[in-house]
Symmetry: C2
Subunit: 332 residues, 2 copies
């Protein structure tokens, strides 16, 4: 068994309260006493038990992070942003993969709350009533990262997806395209089915181009699904001359499919993606992309959470980060 605060107290000839004070950097301790205690701590190799501390203080300095899939490039960059800021504020992270499965998400929230985390960063797809209910019952703050709550009841950090897609598609239209394919993510997720799709439609509408359903496809973010969607596009009646793709990985699939069909990017077909992960430079031609500040979304979400956990006042709990479009060689 390792030493407890009581052992240290005895070794140093003081009370455990005093030991607690020096461990916690309380200034109300005479320097000589502090020294005595510090030495006893060192001698005994004492290390405070965070679980006991958590029980007594009702703070665990641990936050829960629920993420769809840590092995995705997009989410792992987000996670890194979260973790860096957490570390900066002395928190540890309990990381859980949800696979965007609602039941699993609910269960994870409960487990995390049971573990007495001081807060939760949640990333997911659709926020349903059940989520909101859990969130509201929670005694600790929760913030959404790269995840929208359509009713805007839960603190969150995002970009303006609608506007971002609007800009990308408008750019394509303004450089002469009229048949613009859109490989979106699953439409049940509001970011896709609502905001991004609306941005696409608004761009078309503002340029008097009718919406053509055959130019809308849905993938699952994988390379293969981007490739397949593009294959479909290339074999149909109305073929796109430009494609907007909702993820870098799918966009690379799209580019390869186009090239496999003997066509050139960007000369025959232009491609713009969304995410701007490190992948954009790993393909030829390099990928033009909506620069979602992935790492920053995570970092800002965690920072927001720290404020909420400390009851600091925040100007707005719904933060919208700026985006931009990085043009590379998949567009002219």
């Amino acid at each position: 068994m390792s030493a407890t605060i009581y052992d240290v107290a005895r070794e140093a000839g003081v009370s455990m309260a005093t030991v607690s004070r020096v461990v916690n950097g309380n200034p109300n301790v005479k320097p000589t006493t502090r020294k005595k205690v510090s030495e006893a701590i060192k001698r005994l190799g004492y290390r405070p038990n965070a679980v006991a501390r958590g029980l007594a203080s009702k703070k665990t300095t641990t936050v829960g992070v629920i993420i769809p899939d840590i092995s995705s490039v997009f989410f792992s960059e987000l996670a890194r942003g979260i973790e860096d800021i957490a570390t900066m504020y002395k928190y540890n992270i309990i990381l859980c993969n949800s696979d965007q499965n609602k039941d699993k998400e609910i269960r994870l929230i409960q487990t995390l709350l049971g573990k007495q985390v001081d807060g939760i960063v949640f990333m997911g797809g659709k926020i349903a009533e059940e989520h909101i209910e859990e969130f509201k019952q929670s005694s600790v703050p929760i913030v959404l990262a790269a995840t929208v709550d359509e009713q805007n009841q839960i603190p969150s950090v995002n970009i303006d997806y609608e506007q971002a897609v609007f800009e990308a598609v408008s750019h394509l239209i303004e450089t002469g395209h009229r048949e613009i394919g859109f490989i979106n993510g699953p439409l049940e997720v509001p970011i896709n089915g609502k905001y991004k799709l609306n941005g696409y439609k608004r761009a078309l509408a503002e340029h008097d181009i009718p919406f053509d359903e055959t130019l809308l496809s849905v993938g699952d973010y994988t390379y293969e699904s981007g490739k397949e969607a593009t294959e479909q596009f290339l074999n149909q009646e109305v073929k796109p001359t430009a494609i907007f793709v909702d993820s870098d990985e799918m966009a690379i699939g799209a580019i390869h499919e186009i090239q496999d069909e003997g066509k050139k990017v960007p000369n025959d077909i232009e491609v713009i993606s969304s995410e701007n992960t490190r992948l954009v430079q790993m393909v030829r031609p390099t990928l033009s992309s909506i620069a979602e500040p992935t790492y920053d979304i995570g970092a800002v979400a965690m920072r927001l959470l720290t404020k909420l956990m400390n009851n600091e006042k925040v100007e707005s709990s719904t933060v919208v980060l700026p985006h931009r479009i990085d043009f590379r060689n998949s567009t002219k």
Copy 2:
């Protein structure tokens, strides 16, 4: 404040010991009592406090994971393997990024131990004396994943790196190459500076090819560093006709540099990488690669840890997983 076990006991008209029994599925409870308690639990929305439980039982059902960088494709796949198995055995994971910084690694181990994790999965570069010391002092088991301890004192899960590289390079030699470049990772890491390098040298030696220092380069696993190393190769006296690259991301950089110089892969220069992450199919030509079973290394490491935590006996605590080489289009 949420309900405690005591509230439930009162509500159900039993003692807290009985509540504890039903919560923990102890069979020694009369069915009618069990029912009464279950209802009280539901009525009060009672959720056990894992921190209190952890303090009393000295088990937190939480394990620590120290990883160099969760945003790397390689490590995030490993992490997913770890997390999946952890979930399967009802453990949660505290995830910490170390950036391979020794001091940070040591500090993280101590923090994790302070949080009373039931075990640790460690991924890193070089295992120094200090690490070993911390590990040995630890009262909970530790296993290394994709990380070697040269003295084989700590349980670990790896592949046979030496042999894998030997096979890849031998293949290159046997298909006619004599000038084979090697873009390795940092040499301080034994996996690189010792095992992989030895595999490369052994392949040369067995085919009577002298080792040429100018054909060995060191990168930092990034796309850019792979590109730069290759640029250097292409501009030097002895130019490689084939390159073995220690990571997929660097290998993609290498391929692009070769192509940018107007040469063809694999016709002018062949490339084989190591890792076999999802990236291998996202480049043209697709990448031949040593298939390190990334996800499995994580999964097996976590499985091994569960056995160690439960004091089950394990046949060998140094496990070496099989590897193979997946040939794709970057080789002839």
